[in-house]
Symmetry: C2
Subunit: 279 residues, 2 copies
């Protein structure tokens, strides 16, 4: 049908990442491919309306694309969400945000997956890469041991930390700071002296391998392993998951989208994401 | 009596901080004084055995002192604990650790207080300053708002972060990383080029004012404010507090004390702390 054809067309728009550099685009395509290939039999097709799969403001200075695939109801996958945003800033620079996240259902307590790139110039990048925990690690040291110590996730954090061009980045939201794991990679990469070529190299040879490895850990140890979750625990997980999704929309999208796209488009996109989050 | 005289003598040993620099000693004395003055009518005397209030190894290369005052049973104060450690390392350098912490009872859910200095040379310092939360901030955004946003604690973190000699320090224990708040100050200060004088200046003019302010926030907003805590919540707090204290002993003291003082002294000191933690 025309509708499904349109949807397919704009969905592939997400995977184009038209404003990213070569190695950055290749990495995003790789990560989305890895997650879709591995979870294919558990993912439903993207059913976002075309004007949410791809959207832009009137003047054409800001555009964005979204891909959301819910997990089949009997799977442990809640949904995967990929997105990009591009905006020409009044300063002449442009802002590019690209992200991929995956949320699990309360039938497992395993961590979620998140990678986000925020780029405000070809030589400056903020990287957020984490398996956000779904339980309080302080109350659950075994959880910390299983998903973060035994998986040696901290070695990936160290790899990125040791690059001379990176330094730790502190997110402005205290809630997001609380949400991430103790092995989260939250770094600012600046390659002013090495130029955009050095940024390409860092994404290709350093961030890329780490991101692929962390995603593989998530796929193997979180998404594709059965976990015993008791009834009480399940209720706790449901409550926490819901709160996290609500706060994520409030803090993240609630403020940036209206600023970049105007209230009408922002409302439409946020409503579509909310629908997925609450399903 | 002779026993109380000995106890008094060694208790003042703690407050001497004989191995710290002038401004560092003054700051520690100041902080302990501020907490004792404000909470005086709620604190019991220190009842540690003299050989735990002050202890040293056979060869005299390592010594330490401890001061613990429990809160009166009807108060919200569980205990305050001050300590220092000094050890001559085989490398010729010496290690100095000085700390002050305060734990509240489950009659309130307010955060605890913690400051710790780890110094391995006169120009190198690790500073940990925090109000560790006693509830999962992800599940309790109001808690985050009340104790961390409204108190503007992040401004103190920024003040320290902006010093040219500081950079973020990452603790090796994932559990401790999870334990601290999103406004925790965990920094390494290096003044190799400015020498020990610059370290003195940083402690006196930058760390000192911040530490005093954060302690004041803790005293005003956490230790001295009534909180409504329901029965179920109280049981949760008790469970979490106990686990945190147990893990803190295991991770922190369980490994470092035997190494510095031998197993016998370490066992004696750890047992005394355990008794306070479990009381």
């Amino acid at each position: 049908s025309a509708a499904s054809h349109m949807a397919e067309g704009s969905s592939s728009k997400l995977k184009e990442f038209p404003h990213l550099s070569g190695s950055h685009r290749a990495l995003m395509a790789d990560l989305i491919g890895a997650i879709e290939d591995r979870l294919e039999d558990r993912l439903l097709p993207c059913v976002l309306p075309p004007d949410v799969e791809y959207y832009r403001n009137q003047s054409g200075t800001s555009e964005g694309a979204l891909l959301v695939r819910s997990g089949s109801p009997d799977s442990s996958i809640n949904f995967i969400l990929a997105s990009w945003l591009h905006s020409q800033l009044p300063t002449g620079a442009s802002l590019n945000i690209a992200s991929l996240s995956a949320y699990l259902r309360p039938s497992t307590d395993a961590p979620n997956f998140l990678i986000e790139f925020i780029q405000s110039s070809p030589t400056s990048l903020i990287l957020i890469l984490d398996l956000p925990p779904r339980k309080d690690p302080v109350l659950n040291p075994d959880y910390l041991q299983l998903f973060y110590e035994d998986t040696r996730l901290d070695s990936y954090r160290k790899t990125i930390e040791e690059l001379p061009e990176t330094r730790p980045y502190v997110m402005s939201s205290l809630y997001f700071r609380s949400l991430v794991s103790p092995t989260s990679i939250i770094s600012r990469v600046d390659t002013e002296s090495g130029g955009p070529e050095r940024m390409e190299e860092i994404i290709k040879n350093h961030i890329g391998p780490v991101a692929r490895d962390v995603l593989r850990v998530w796929l193997n140890e979180c998404a594709c392993k059965e976990r015993e979750v008791g009834m009480v625990e399940r209720v706790d997980l449901e409550q926490r998951d819901e709160l996290v999704k609500k706060k994520t929309i409030d803090i993240d999208l609630g403020s940036s989208l209206p600023r970049l796209f105007g209230q009408e488009i922002a409302d439409r996109v946020v409503a579509a994401i909310q629908q997925v989050f609450e399903a």
